[in-house]
Amino acid sequence: MKTPFDTAGGTIALGLAVTLALYLLARCLVLGG
């Protein structure tokens, strides 16, 4: 089964997407907490 991890580009793109998602989550926790 192919995954985003099968290429370097997919791995880095997923890492950037996860970074953005976690940043938005952290921002909500910091500002809303």
Binding site: F5, A8, L14, T19, L22, R27, L29, G33
Partner: protein
């Protein structure tokens, strides 16, 4: 004295992290895309010198990961921030997310990658089919850590230097 300890922990944390994650990125550069393990990819397992080299290489980055994690936790503990970071409380949320990602990466390395890598490299005897299966798992496990290093480094930097990101 406390500042000196904090500085030493930070210095060793950077050093361990570079050895660990540097090894991971070297793997990405050497093999940017997945391809199944082939018999010709296997090294000379009859050579004690070759096996010692493999053991040294893999031991170095596995233990560098432990040093990185311990010094990171040490810094948070020494500053009295460990509890709030782990609980993602207030402004410790950023470094807390970094802590949890780093912990996940360490667990992935020791509990998922290494047990399978032992078979791929020949430290534990296994038939070729099993080694091919394990090579897929070690590839994915390694790349998961590559991916996680991106948010990890973001939150490491954002912890002490990213106030504007949370304003």
């Amino acid at each position: 004295m406390e500042q000196a300890i904090d500085f030493l922990l930070r210095w060793v944390h950077f050093f361990g992290g570079i050895v660990w994650i540097g090894h991971n990125y070297a793997s990405v550069v050497q093999r940017p895309s997945f391809r199944p393990l082939r018999p010709e990819d296997l090294g000379d397992e009859q050579s004690p010198a070759y096996m010692a080299l493999l053991g040294r290489e893999h031991g170095t980055f596995r233990y560098a990961a432990v040093v990185t994690w311990l010094t990171g936790v040490g810094m948070l503990w020494q500053r009295g921030m460990l509890g709030d970071a782990m609980a993602l409380n207030g402004y410790q949320t950023g470094i807390g997310i970094g802590f949890w990602i780093g912990t996940l990466m360490l667990a992935n390395l020791w509990l998922v990658l290494w047990p399978h890598q032992k078979k791929v490299l020949g430290f534990v005897a296994a038939p070729l089919e099993e080694r091919v299966r394990c090579a897929r798992i070690t590839f994915l496990s390694s790349r998961v850590n590559t991916m996680l290093s991106i948010p990890l480094l973001f939150f490491m930097a954002a912890g002490p230097h990213g106030a504007a990101l949370f304003a």
